[in-house]
Symmetry: C2
Subunit: 149 residues, 2 copies
């Protein structure tokens, strides 16, 4: 009946939406989105190729999502699928030359955008922000808030 905003689900979700939109507007000129860039970075850090299941695990998402994300990255020419010589069930996502280039450039753009977004915060404020966000994030884990079945 009252609905007084106690603290800030909306504040947090709105800020995330703003930040995401800002970074993606910069990435879009490379034909990249944040999910695409994240996948390319995981591949690069893993040494150019990874089984789709591994990719799903490292991106903390479900396997069917990866199937479709790799579909789009393959259509973009940033990744190709290959057979796993050790297990014929498994498919490897392999970074192409174009994928490697766009990953490096996208990582630069992302880092610059991050710098811009947090430029108005002092180093101490950044640490504070990390700490406070961490307290919120952690509150959903560790039995403090048991998940509703």
């Amino acid at each position: 009946m009252n609905d007084v905003p106690v603290a800030g689900i909306d504040t947090l979700l709105h800020a995330a939406a703003v930040v995401q939109a800002h970074v993606e507007s910069q990435l879009s000129r490379l034909g990249l989105s944040l999910p695409k860039l994240a996948a390319l970075r995981v591949l690069r850090d893993a040494g150019e190729s990874l089984a789709l299941g591994q990719l799903a695990e490292r991106l903390s998402c479900v396997k069917s999502n990866i199937t479709q994300l790799v579909d789009r990255l393959e259509a973009d020419g940033f990744v190709s699928r290959a057979h796993d010589p050790d297990d014929r069930r498994s498919r490897l996502a392999v970074l192409t030359d174009a994928g490697r280039r766009v990953c490096d450039e996208g990582s630069r753009i992302r880092r610059d955008a991050e710098g811009q977004l947090f430029a108005s915060l002092s180093a101490d404020e950044v640490r504070q922000l990390q700490r406070l966000i961490g307290k919120v994030t952690d509150s959903t884990r560790g039995g403090t808030l048991p998940p509703v079945p």
Copy 2:
């Protein structure tokens, strides 16, 4: 080449995902999601009904999104469409009895979840978090960071 995480795009986006998932896991037993609940709350606060265009504006999203969101809410029985007597182009979204009930109950759930998520922060820490997030959000506006065309 270096990719040192300067501050925290990932921290912020991850926290938002965690918070959203937490709240939606609680709302799901009512058949509600955050977008659905937000729409119901806007309707309730507007006095039970609103033209779809107004709804889009107050939810800060595009009109075609509202068309489909209202489709789903109508399928749920929480909203119905009506004709605008003053303008035959316009459609009104009208809160049903079930919609009103679920809006009230969803608002309670949302408020409780908010309390739980921020329970480990002191009142002062909550203010700090709001202030710091506000600085990040504001950095994308006001000419500090002109949008890339």
